[in-house]
Symmetry: D3
Subunit: 118 residues, 6 copies
C-alpha cells in the first residue's frame, strides 16, 4: 500500500484550513491556535498528548482526526505495540461501533510504515 | 471551485428520498413532513431557523445535513460574517472534533458563492 | 414552581468554575475566555447566538448547558413561542432521545417565568 | 429494592410531559404522537419494537429512555434472559462507556420484578 | 442498481479486518470474537439480534455498521415491512440527523434485492 | 470537601456490578473481563492507559467513567499538572459541551486530594 491516501488527506486539510482562515473571525482563529498549543510539551510529553488525541478521535469516531493524530504519533515514534494498545482502549471504551474507524486507522498506520518495534 | 459537489449531493438526496418514500410507512412519511414543517416561518423567521439547523448539524457532525442547511442558508441571504459566526459557535460548543466538518462546510459555502457582505 | 433549581445550578456552576480556574493552565483559561467571546454581539445579535447555543445544547443532550443558555435566553427577551420553536427544531433534528432534556428545559423555562408573549 | 425509583420517574415524566404540551406547537405535538405510533404492532410485534427502543436507548446512553422502555418491556413479558441479551448487544456495540447505564438498567429491571424465566 | 457497492464494502471489510488481526493483541482479538458471539442464537433468535444491531447502528449513525447488519438481516429473511419498521424506530429515536444514513440504508436494501413481502 | 461523593460512587458501582453479574451471560462477563485487561501494563504503562481512559471518558461525557478513571489516575500518581493537561486536551477536542463534566472532574480531583506536584 502506498502512502497516497494520507498524503491526499494532508494536502486537502491544509488547503481547506487556508480557506477557513480566509473567513475566520478572531474566535475561530484563536481556537485554531489553541488546538495547536494544547498538544505541545508540558508536564506530559508530546507523544503522550498525541496518544490522548488519538484515542479521543477514535471514540468520537472521526476518521480525519484519527488520520491527523496517526501522522503525529508516527512522528513521535510510537511503536506498533503502543499504537495497538491505544486502539484497544478506544475499542473497549467505544465499542464495536468504532470498528470501521479502527480498520481505517490500521490501514493508515500500515501506509505510514513507521519503524517497527516487533 | 465549481458548485458540482453540492449539485451532486442535491441530486442524490432527492433520488434517494424518492427511494425511501417507496418503502416508507405512515410514521416515516409523517416524520419527513415534520422535518419540512419545523423550518417554516413562525415566531422565528426562516433564516434564524436555518441557522439553528446548521449549528445543530455541525455539532452533531453530519456533512449531508450541513450541506442541506448551507444551501438553505444562502437562499435565505445569510452573509459571510453571519455564516462564520454560526460556525464559530458550533466549533466552540463541539470542539476540534468538528473541524473536518467545518472545513467542508466552508468549502461548500465557497462553492455556493453567495452575495458577499464583506 | 420556585426558581430554586436554576439558582442552585448557577451557584454550583460559578463555584466549580472557580475551582477549575485554580488548576487551569493557559489553554484551558483561553478556551473559557473564547466560550464567552463567541456569544457576544457581532454580525448576529446576542439573542440569535444564545438560541444557537440552546439548540446545540439540546441536540447534544447536556442539561447544564441547556440551563445556562435558558437563563441567557430569558435575559435576551426570548418569548414563549420563540423558545418553543428552538426546542422543536432540536427535537426534530435530535429525535426522541432528546425528550427527557426537552422536558427539563421546559421545567427550567417555567421556573424562570419570563414575560409571556402569549 | 422497592419500585419507588421507577414510580417517581413515571410520575415526573407524565407531569413534565403535561408542561411540555402546555407550550407545544403543532410540530412538537405531532412528534410526540409519532413517538407513540412507531412502537405499535405492525409487521413486528410490540415486544420486538420495545427491545429495539431499549437497545437504541442504551447505546445512546439515556437513562430516562432506558427506564421508559424497561417498563414497557416488562409489560410485554420480556424474560430475564431476553433482557440480558438485548443489554449485551448494546454493551458490545456501545462499549464500556455504556456500563454506568447498563448498571442502572439492571437496577431498574430488578426493581420491576417481572416474572422470572430462570 | 447493482449490488456492487455492498460487495466492495464486504471485500474491503474482510481485507482490513485481516490487517487489524496482523497487529491485534489478545484484548482486541477477544473483542472481535465477542462481537460475533453476541449475535448468535440464544433466548432471542438471530433475526431479532440482527435487527437490534441494525437499529443501534442507525441511531449511532455508522454507515459501515448499517451495511453489515443489512446484509445479515436479509440473510435472516427480514421482509421489506420489517426493515422499514426497524428504520422508523431508529428515525424517531435518533431524529432527522439519521436521515442521510437512512437514505443510504434503503439504497443498500434495494441493492440486496431480498425476497419481497409486498 | 470530603471524599464522600466518590466513596458513594464506588460503593454503588461495586454493588450494582454484582447485580449485573447475577444476570450476566458469557458475553457480558467476558466484556467486563476485557474492560479490566485492557488497562493492564503492556507496551504502555498503566498510568498512560488510565489517562487514555480518562480523556475518552471526558470527550464522551460520562461522569461515572470519569470518576472511575480519576480514582485510578490518582492511584497511579498523576500530578495536578498532568491531570490538567489531560483535561485540557479533552476540552479542546470535545468543546464547551464537556465543561459541566470538566467541572465535576476537578471537583472529584480536589476531593481525592492526591499528593500535589505544585
Amino acid at each position: 500500500m502506498s502512502n497516497q491516501k494520507l498524503e491526499t488527506f494532508q494536502q486537502e486539510r491544509l488547503q481547506l484550513n487556508d480557506l477557513v482562515m480566509k473567513y475566520a473571525g478572531l474566535s475561530m482563529k484563536r481556537f485554531y491556535h489553541l488546538d495547536v498549543e494544547v498538544y505541545k510539551e508540558g508536564a506530559l510529553p508530546q507523544k503522550t498528548k498525541e496518544m490522548l488525541g488519538l484515542v479521543a478521535s477514535l471514540v468520537l469516531r472521526c476518521d480525519d482526526c484519527i488520520n491527523y493524530h496517526l501522522i503525529r504519533c508516527t512522528q513521535e515514534g510510537l511503536t506498533d505495540k503502543e499504537f495497538e494498545e491505544v486502539m484497544s482502549i478506544g475499542l473497549i471504551v467505544g465499542g464495536s461501533i468504532t470498528i470501521p474507524h479502527l480498520r481505517r486507522a490500521f490501514q493508515g498506520w500500515e501506509e505510514l510504515k513507521p519503524p517497527r518495534s516487533i
